[in-house]
Symmetry: C2
Subunit: 419 residues, 2 copies
């Protein structure tokens, strides 16, 4: 067999909290004005109390509410697939598995946290959310989730994406969300994720009944994504494997990686590998420090690897990986040596993505291509050593809305040096 599903009643009913398993206790976020640790009251204008509680929880497991499970069931459990055709093309003794998150309504893993975030906000009487989105993976996921809970949504979309890649904008509107280009105060600026966060936070901060939602970086977001790794663990067992030798995922803000990798943190023998673009090399080239999550300095200071909150990465196709900072949990695991990180230029990423499309059939999102690149390189290394390594990576989203990037790659319009 090469594809493992599970009975729908095997969707994990609790999220895995990695905090109790960290080598060192997490450092608190700091207030942007006072530089003192932030308390729940500081975050209450932005987030519902349940999510604030999850943000600082040290409980090992946190229950998934039934209403959330009812919606996750629309596409979960997702399949685990063994990439036998890719293995054969590589001539590797490694066994390559991928967890296929591309079948969600919006086509990526982002829906796993969009649904609980919309749920907790609705449960606390919030009627409207604001958020930012880069290429649109997060904006589409939240628009889908808001439609399920009858929440209004305003999305600040990085202007370059808004104008050049209109499809995800239309998807957001199809689900009933409102989209505007960011930065709102400078129509000539191409925008950045940090600036769009500033716009979205400013919009809701002063408004009763409005909250803000973030698609990555924060602890509660990564928590919600752990359904990926929990399912993968069980499915690997169905596939006759004990544990993977290495778990791989792209890393922008960290939710993709945290989702598949955190449930394996307690297993000391399992390598955990973050893959980032060499044009935005937060984990491989950044410094570990307190920094703002946004450009304008409105958010709390987070302890993380950062390239500086005013860093504007070049406009690569993997828009979801263009973020100056990183999840504090992922950052701490990298700093403490429990996670590794590697960076690739985008030409190498698309080369791997096309090889994957022609063997396994599926066309990956450019973000996802980063994990495929690293998985292929791990498999080729195993070929050198003759090792029967078990490789697991997160197939975090499809590339149907990123085909213009493939057009550039196939027609040599993708400068490799761009990163």
């Amino acid at each position: 067999m090469t594809r493992w599903t599970m009975a729908p009643d095997r969707i994990p009913s609790a999220w895995f909290n990695v905090v109790p398993h960290l080598p060192t206790p997490p450092q608190p976020p700091l207030h942007p004005g006072t530089r003192e640790p932030v308390g729940p009251a500081d975050l209450a204008p932005l987030f519902p109390m349940e999510l604030i509680g999850q943000e600082v929880s040290t409980e090992p497991w946190i229950d998934v509410p039934g209403e959330v499970l009812d919606i996750l069931r629309l596409w979960r459990p997702t399949p685990l697939v063994r990439a036998v055709r890719l293995e054969k093309a590589l001539g590797t003794p490694a066994r390559i598995y991928f967890k296929d998150e591309s079948g969600s309504p919006s086509g990526s893993h982002k829906t796993n946290t969009a649904v609980p975030q919309a749920f907790y906000n609705r449960a606390e009487g919030i009627g409207r959310l604001t958020t930012e989105t880069g290429a649109g993976q997060w904006g589409t996921a939240l628009a889908f989730a808001c439609a399920q809970f009858d929440l209004d949504l305003k999305v600040y979309m990085v202007r370059a994406s808004y104008e050049q890649k209109p499809y995800r904008r239309v998807a957001i509107q199809t689900w009933g969300g409102e989209v505007v280009p960011s930065p709102v105060d400078d129509p000539t600026h191409p925008g950045s994720l940090g600036a769009a966060i500033s716009d979205a936070v400013r919009d809701c901060a002063g408004r009763a009944g409005s909250h803000y939602a973030l698609g990555s970086v924060l602890n509660h977001v990564l928590l919600h994504q752990t359904v990926i790794g929990l399912e993968a663990r069980e499915q690997l067992e169905l596939a006759g494997e004990r544990l993977p030798d290495v778990v791989i995922a792209p890393c922008g803000g960290g939710s993709n990686l945290g989702g598949i990798a955190f449930p394996f943190v307690p297993d000391a023998g399992v390598r955990l590998l973050a893959v980032e673009p060499s044009s935005c090399p937060t984990l491989t080239q950044g410094r570990f420090d307190y920094d703002f999550g946004d450009t304008a300095g409105l958010t709390p200071l987070l302890p993380m690897y950062t390239l500086g909150h005013d860093f504007v990465p070049p406009s690569i196709h993997a828009g979801g990986l263009r973020y100056h900072g990183d999840s504090p949990l992922v950052s701490a695991l990298v700093r403490d040596g429990r996670m590794e990180a590697v960076a690739y230029p985008q030409g190498k990423v698309f080369e791997a993505s096309v090889q994957f499309a022609r063997t396994e059939g599926k066309i990956p999102a450019p973000e996802c291509g980063h994990a495929i690149r690293a998985a292929i390189d791990e498999a080729l290394a195993a070929k050198e050593t003759g090792e029967e390594k078990v490789i697991l990576f997160n197939y975090c989203g499809h590339g149907f809305l990123d085909l213009s990037a493939y057009d550039d790659y196939l027609n040599d319009r993708l400068p490799d040096e761009q990163g």
Copy 2:
């Protein structure tokens, strides 16, 4: 439960042939020159002998080759989903199920026949295929399949789609296929499916080692699609249903409809419903007659409902339904009263598609929206009568590559009168 998968070993290992179950025996295709019934030798320049055999077979079941099954396993069995959120929004006592074919590599049901067609051609030593594609659903599916069997592929794409909807063109190229706009001899003509068929047939007819592949209409194509209905039948049983009251699918050339509906033809109580665009109303307004499959009159004459082989339908978004003719098998079943047909203008189709997206989460292809429209209307009729009707429809493909159509609809740029 609301979503039923099956174990991977439950993929049907034989296709269901509807021919023995037809109320009247099928009429043969006629040679375009002599108007005599065509024999295998007439078709041999275009198709491998195994497919020609399937085209005229009266065997009730035909084995699926193992190598084909190995590839179908990449995405099959596909899930059967109960649309409980849509039911609730409609306030209907009906139970609405859809068979979700959108998870295939190219995002539609077309891969179900692309894979066996590529396989049989490769098995008979063919190294190159030609085909036509409208919006690109078929071209992408065949490009994926050809990549699996190392076959060269040249796709003649209707020029209007080639220029205005480049994404599926890029997908074909990503899988390694070549694409050119059609008609090749008139760069100012927007093109049509019939003209693209002429181009593709002309290309391979005179060339050794080249064959032609068609994505719908022919008996062997509909045969390959019956995995959809066979799986749905078994999954409905898992869902605790006996048989559906009505089976619904969009109908352009008929492969979508044949795929889900043919396995229910022997069940006299099950209504079978074809849904077509009112701008290309082949079954509802056409005449039953022998006609050419293409514009230039190169193909055999087929006994079918037709609007005339020189009919050029208006440029609606559901490009896959813009065909002047129809499957002879579907046509015969409609003529003999075993199948019904209904037509909708595209404004009503997109209204249903947006309601589906906001309730069930998934954004459907415009072709697929036709089935959703009819399913909703059946469910609303059941609300009037209080009937607990069981409705099954084919969710034949996602709309990620059709979002510009939603943009038009949401911004009132979609003239309803266009059909």
